[in-house]
């Protein structure tokens, strides 16, 4: 799977989004993530693996606690894909309408100049 696909499929799950929201406040150990949830440690670990593969979180080196932290970079890449595609084009076409009228006016001036000659 490609990076962006991994990011979006990682975000499709509410538990993983909750984990990210928690990590946005600061790093946490797996036990700290298990704490407030109704989920078991293996389930949380499984979700963390998905997030890790998407590059959204990384784990510390200390074998015993291995705190999990959020990686912002792939999120920003994904955020650029957000936004309303249709609105993007509608706004562009509004501007194109204004611009093409300007082109037409300029062309009209050239034509009348040529006629005068």
């Amino acid at each position: 799977m490609q990076q962006l696909d991994l990011v979006f499929s990682a975000l499709a799950d509410p538990t993983r989004r909750a984990i990210l929201a928690r990590l946005a406040k600061g790093e946490a150990t797996v036990n700290e993530l298990v704490g407030p949830s109704d989920l078991s440690q293996p389930t949380i670990s499984k979700h963390l693996k998905v997030l890790e593969r998407a590059g959204l979180v990384s784990r510390g080196r200390e074998a015993q606690f291995r705190p999990v932290r959020l990686n912002a970079a792939p999120l920003e890449g994904a955020a650029e894909w957000l936004g309303d595609y249709r609105r993007f084009w509608e706004e562009s076409l509004d501007r194109l309408d204004v611009y093409v009228k300007e082109l037409k006016r300029k062309e009209g001036r050239h034509v009348s100049k040529r006629r005068r000659r």
Binding site: Q3, L11, A72, W81, Y85, R86, L93
Partner: protein, 162 residues
């Protein structure tokens, strides 16, 4: 998902069509699409000017552009290749972000002039239903939709914290 994840998905489920009528001849609109100095004047929403634009406007030629947002940072460039050009009638090109794993969409822009009015049609064929959902939000799984909402919040929080 591979680059052609959407190959088995019906085109009708992957496309989006936008039309607009202009009180101008097709050749002016065609020019507005085919020259960087023109494109820079209108492409993109207000507040996001095109600050980089290169076009090798011929079949097989490449194009690329990037916009700069209110923060002053140039955003990820996007671009692709021209697949078909019929002067004053039609331009077909690929379009996608220059990001690892980004899928390309195929854009078909047609110019139909009648009595001095030109109907512009922009047909976007997304690489997959998933890509269309990401951009347009139509027919997407609720989970992904709320994931994207939350993503926006998370990114905003990260930016505020940075």
């Amino acid at each position: 998902m591979s680059a052609n994840a959407g190959a088995g998905e019906a085109e009708a489920d992957r496309e989006l069509i936008i039309t607009r009528s202009f009180d101008a001849p097709a050749r002016l609109l065609f020019a507005a699409w085919s020259k960087p100095e023109h494109l820079k004047k209108w492409f993109g929403p207000v507040g996001y000017p095109v600050t980089m634009c290169e076009m090798d406007f011929r079949v097989g030629g490449q194009w690329r552009a990037a916009m700069t947002g209110p923060s002053g940072t140039q955003q990820t460039p996007f671009g692709g290749e021209y697949l078909e050009i019929v002067p004053n009638r039609k331009i077909v090109f690929t379009n996608g972000f220059e990001l690892a794993g980004a899928e390309k969409m195929i854009m078909t822009v047609t110019f139909d002039e009648k009595d001095g009015t030109t109907l512009l049609t922009i047909r976007t064929l997304f690489a997959s239903i998933a890509q269309k959902a990401t951009h347009v939000g139509a027919g997407m799984a609720e989970g992904i939709a709320s994931g994207l909402d939350q993503l926006t919040d998370v990114v905003a929080a990260l930016k505020a914290a940075a």
